[in-house]
Structures are given as C-alpha cells and as structure tokens.
C-alpha cells in the first residue's frame, strides 16, 4: 500500500496504490510519475513560457510547422473529433478568450480587452500525425481534456510497472482500478463542505466540472466560444467513462451540447445539475441522491 500527494498542473494530486509494493520500487515509480506530468505540462500548458502552446501563440509562429511529441496524437485527434461533433462548441482555440477575460498566465482575473470569437480550427491550424502547421498564431488551451489525458497516461505508467489496483485523483478527476468499488461524493458547487449525492464507481474514469472555483467578476473558466459568456444555468456536471480523457472532455461538452449528440459517438454516463438544484442524468448513472 502506498500514497503520494503533490501539486501539479494547477491542482492537487493524490495517488493511492492498493497493492503491496516495496519501498524502493515505490520511490522510483513516484519519481517517474512526477517527471511524466512535468514533461506534459511543460509542453502543453499555456501558463509556461517555453511550452509549445505559448510558442504557437506568438507572431513568429505564423507559417511554421511544429513537430509535436508522441502523446499529441491522441489528444489532438480527440479535440478535433469533438470540435466537429459539437460544431465548434468544444474547441482548444479558447486560450485567447480565457486570457482576455482575465484567466491569463498572470491570473489578472479582470477583463483585459474586448472579447472576440475564437478562430475556427481550419483558419488557424492544420494538424496531421504529430505535425502542426500554424496558419494563424493562436493561444491554445487544453484544460478541457488535458488533465483527464495525463491521468490516463499516469495510469498506464502504473500498469507498465505491474500495478493494477490504484486510484489517481487529480483535483476531483479520478481514475480508479480495484476489486472493490469506491464511493465518490458529488460536491455541492454552492457549498463545498457538502455533497448532493454519492456515486459508486467500480472501475474507470470519473470527472466533475463546475464553475464555482475559477470564477471572477461575471466569468468562470467554462466559456462558451460562441456567446463569449461563461456557463451559468448549469451548475455542475459529472461524467463517467472508460477513459478519464473522454470523461473529462465530455464534462465540458455537456455544458453546451445535449447528451444525445455526444452519445452517438461515445460511451458514457452523466449527471447534470442546474443552478436550481434540479438534476438530469443518463439512465446508467447509478447514484445515491440527497433530497
């Protein structure tokens, strides 16, 4: 049994290993995990000066082709698929929008300039097999699915080390593999000392999203790229899917897109809570609610 707590990608992580593991191996694995997350963050974070994302946002990137790391393929493919499926409501091209609204690298948390609609994917980018052509410099943001993705990557790392019983919790986005289920409280976004229900997770990814923490002025970090406003009617969304990356991406999608559209392509269960505390959910989201 082992536990690791640390901070990374802007949130708090806790990794639990439910198998017996010798101390030397444990230290080695935990060190590898931290390195892997650091590599991911240094490539894809818009809050890092030297990240690929920051480079692409600068004027001098125009017309250049960037060779991306191997792990880009899965993430870019998902982002593009969802971009098409959601008709652009789910897009990585929202970095400038978030930044201009105040959620910038300096955490200004005040509107910096007039907000403009993000460019379309084709206007700004051309992506093919880890090669990215920048037609127009743009600030990308992978917050919607990046965390879920790196959680899955960490899970793979554990499994490559023969650890198959574990829980990875990065700020409430969870990947869980174990023989017995785990009870996950659904945090009340209006009162973080409370939960509105408890979900019993057997195995897989489980993600939650709400606008209560990263909120400033009339904005929160869940921004609608077409209305240029932040989600307000829906208070919180939870999704479970086999992969944490998909669960993470879909929590964002569901703020703007009906579940039926997403269900055409993805297998998932969800719960959505409106600001009046009424709930909507898929049939298979089996959960204990408080009322």
């Amino acid at each position: 049994m082992a536990q690791l707590n640390f901070k990374a990608i802007g949130t708090s992580w806790q990794i639990d290993i439910y198998q017996n593991i010798d101390q030397k191996k444990e230290a080695e694995i935990f060190s590898n995990i931290k390195d892997r997350i650091e590599t991911f963050e240094s490539n894809y974070s818009r809050f890092r000066d030297n990240s690929i994302v920051t480079k692409i946002s600068k004027e001098e990137s125009k017309g250049k082709i960037y060779e991306l790391p191997d792990d880009a393929e899965k993430m870019f493919t998902l982002y593009h698929d969802l971009y098409v499926l959601t008709d652009g409501f789910f897009t990585p091209l929202v970095g400038n929008l978030l930044s201009d609204a105040g959620y910038d690298a300096k955490y200004s948390l005040e509107k910096q300039k007039e907000l403009t609609t993000p460019p379309t994917w084709d206007e700004a980018l051309e992506y093919h097999r880890n090669k990215l052509l920048v037609k127009k410099p743009v600030l990308l943001d992978f917050g919607a699915a990046g965390k879920g993705y790196i959680i899955d990557i960490v899970g793979e790392l554990l499994e490559n080390n023969n650890i198959y019983e574990y829980c990875i919790d990065a700020g409430g986005d969870i990947l869980y593999k174990n023989k017995t289920p785990i009870r996950i409280g659904l945090e009340n976004p209006e009162n973080t000392g409370q939960v509105i229900g408890v979900y019993t997770l057997n195995n897989g990814g489980f993600c939650g999203s709400a606008g209560n923490r990263r909120a400033w002025g009339k904005f929160n970090h869940i921004m609608n790229p077409k209305t240029l406003e932040s989600a307000s009617e829906i208070a919180a969304i939870w999704v479970t899917a086999e992969s944490t990356m998909i669960a993470d991406a879909l929590t964002t999608c569901l703020f703007f897109i009906p579940a039926k559209t997403l269900a055409r392509k993805y297998d998932f269960e969800y719960l959505l809570m409106h600001k009046d505390f009424s709930i909507e959910k898929s049939e298979g989201f089996s959960c204990e609610f408080f009322s």
Partner: protein, 188 residues
C-alpha cells in the same frame, strides 16, 4: 433535424402523460356512477375493468394497494350496502391509480407507466417510470422524469460515508491569492 426529433419526442411524452391522466380521471368518474347500478346483489361481483382509449390500458386499485400489471386484470368491486345518507365530499375517490400509456416516436412505440395518488381531489403524489427498452427514448424519458421531479440538496460531507469528492478542480495557491487580491480591491 435533431431538435425537431427532440421536440417531437417531448411532445409525444407530454401527450402520452396527459392522455393517461385523462383516462384515469374518466375511469373513476364512471366508477362513481356504476357503483349504484351494480350492487343490487349481495355477492361481491368480479368484473374485468377494460377501458380502451387508443393504446392505453388502465387499472384501478383501492386505497390499500398500488401496483399494477400492464395487462387487463380482474377487479373486485366490493359489496356495497344501500346508498348511505352521507354526502360524498370529494369529486374523485381517494386512492392510487395507475395506468400505462404509449406513444409513437421515430424509433417506434414506447411506453411509460404513470401512477397518481389522490386525496381530497388533490394529486398528492405522482410517479412516472419508463418501460421502454429503446435507449434513446429512455434517455429522453429520464430527462423528462428527472426534470419534472428530482431536486437535490446538499448534505454535510462529515455525515456521508465516502472516500473521494469530485467537483470543480481545486485551485492552486497563486490563483486563490489573485482572487483574494481582486476581491479586496473591489471592496476598497
């Protein structure tokens, strides 16, 4: 195209439920009149309750039970003494009534079960459950069912047995500090 199907389904569900409720009300409104006519003998009579309006089956149970199968079932009409002198004070008999309704969707016929409890002419409880196997319809029914009825409240974490909590991601110190600064600036 999707939104047309969506509204079509919602209208279908609403029509289904309104029609089913209408059947329930009509059924036991008739029951009031029949009571006097059918109780001339001293033996309890067994009748098959069968009112067919379109696709719907309906079933009535007295105050003591509430479950119902979806097929027609014999209903026992209790022996009644001579009409009493006391005036009936409610328009509809108190009790729990249940019926199945069905409606057409582009994916085919789907069904729902509606149960209402009446006390003093007021619906004191209502329940709608989906019977359909079609995944899409079930999803819509759940949207309707949970939308019309289910609200949640918060419960203190200390009072709940759980191992994890999931919601918006915990924010880093830098963000929290910036937020605190902005808020204090706004106050001054």
């Amino acid at each position: 195209m999707n939104s047309i199907n969506q509204s079509y389904k919602k209208i279908g569900i609403l029509i289904g439920i309104v029609a089913v409720l209408a059947v329930i009300i009509v059924t036991f409104a008739n029951e009031d009149e029949q009571d006097v006519a059918s109780t001339n003998d001293t033996q309890p009579s067994v009748q098959t309750q069968n009112s067919d309006v379109g696709n719907k089956n309906s079933n009535q149970s007295g105050e003591s039970s509430s479950n119902t199968p979806t097929t027609q079932t014999p209903v026992v009409i209790p022996k009644q003494t001579k009409p009493s002198n006391t005036k009936q004070t409610t328009v509809y008999k108190n009790g729990t009534y249940t019926a199945d309704g069905s409606y057409m969707t582009p994916e085919g016929n789907v069904s729902i079960n509606v149960t209402v409890t009446l006390a003093n002419d007021i619906i004191t409880d209502a329940n709608v459950t989906s019977v359909s196997g079609d995944r899409t319809s079930v999803r819509y029914q759940n949207k309707f069912i949970s939308g019309y009825k289910q609200y949640v409240v918060g419960k203190n974490i200390a009072d709940v047995q759980l191992s994890k909590v999931s919601g918006s991601s915990l924010t880093p110190e830098g963000f929290n500090n910036a937020l605190a600064t902005i808020k204090s600036q706004a106050k001054s």
